[in-house]
Amino acid sequence: MSENRLLAALPKEENQRLRLFLEPVRVEFKQLLMQPGTPIPYVWFPHDFVASDIVEMADGSAVEVATIGNEGMVGTPLFLRETTTTAKAFAQAPGTGMRMRAEDFVSEVIERGGPLHELLHRYTHAFVTQISQTAACNRLHTAERRMCRWILMMHDRVNEDRFPLTQEFMSQMLGVTRQSVSATAGALQEARLITYTRGMMTVLDRQRLETSACECYEKVRRQFERIFDRP
């Protein structure tokens, strides 16, 4: 099982201090973690579950704006002193992680300061980079290149070559119809980069996925790596 990289990067004493406020959890597929307009009850530190932030429109259509795995934390608005959010966060891939009550996070991380506070500043910058890059990507890049980018991002976070992925979510992630999802996945399958059968995505050729993805994948990946580059 992989660890949350933010927590793993903390000095031992700080990690032990915060353990008192962290609860190990299992997160199910599609479990809601943050809901628009509702107070954020917890912040979540994924180990091997992957969360998505999506923005929903009044007509029910939705687009993913960020992916959060073991490099990060679900609940960034709380770090920015906002108790609610306009985006919805839910688990896209099930797995395990840790969570901390919002009150504890405010008192023990935000008000007290310290190494996690510092790391979360860097994480928030990388997170904002991801959101802005995704906005540009959705507008400028083809569905095929975006799908490659997104599969790579999932692959980095689940630590498995095979993971569940529904067509409904892929259509939200790409901002296209299910028919387009089917056609795009079909093209990648034809090129033997992936297989996609009955909702299960299998990465066959990661190297060629990287060359087929748009520049946004590498740009965002590098930004997240910078969180952990500095002491």
């Binding site: 199910e28 597929f29 479990q31 569940p164």
Partner: protein, 104 residues
């Protein structure tokens, strides 16, 4: 001919499960038994399991066979079963969220 499910039929099933939530949660296997109150993950899992069973019944599918093909994650098995049988297509995630909000 393959049986299908439409948006209204799915909504009705969701409402039935939501209405029975308080009865479902302690009565499902491993959903109680004195192990203390259920956490959100366990509650979500059990409600999705109940909904998956209802959808299978509606579609005349064997839930065991479905689960053995799609894996033991109830949410994923439900989502994939819907994707393969819904007609016309609809946004099932939103219906599930709306129906189960406040049930946890």
């Amino acid at each position: 001919m393959k049986r299908t499910i439409n948006e209204q039929e799915f909504k009705t099933l969701c409402e039935e499960v939501a209405a029975r939530a308080s009865a479902i949660l302690p009565s499902m296997p491993d959903g109680g038994g004195g192990a203390g109150p259920l956490n959100e993950s366990e509650s979500t899992g059990l409600l999705l399991r109940a909904l998956f069973l209802c959808v299978c019944r509606h579609l005349e599918l064997d839930p065991k066979a479905q689960a053995s093909e799609l894996g033991d994650d109830n949410g994923f098995a439900l989502a994939q079963t819907l994707e393969e049988h819904m007609h016309p297509e609809f946004l099932y995630s939103r219906i599930i969220d709306e129906c189960f909000n406040g049930q946890e």
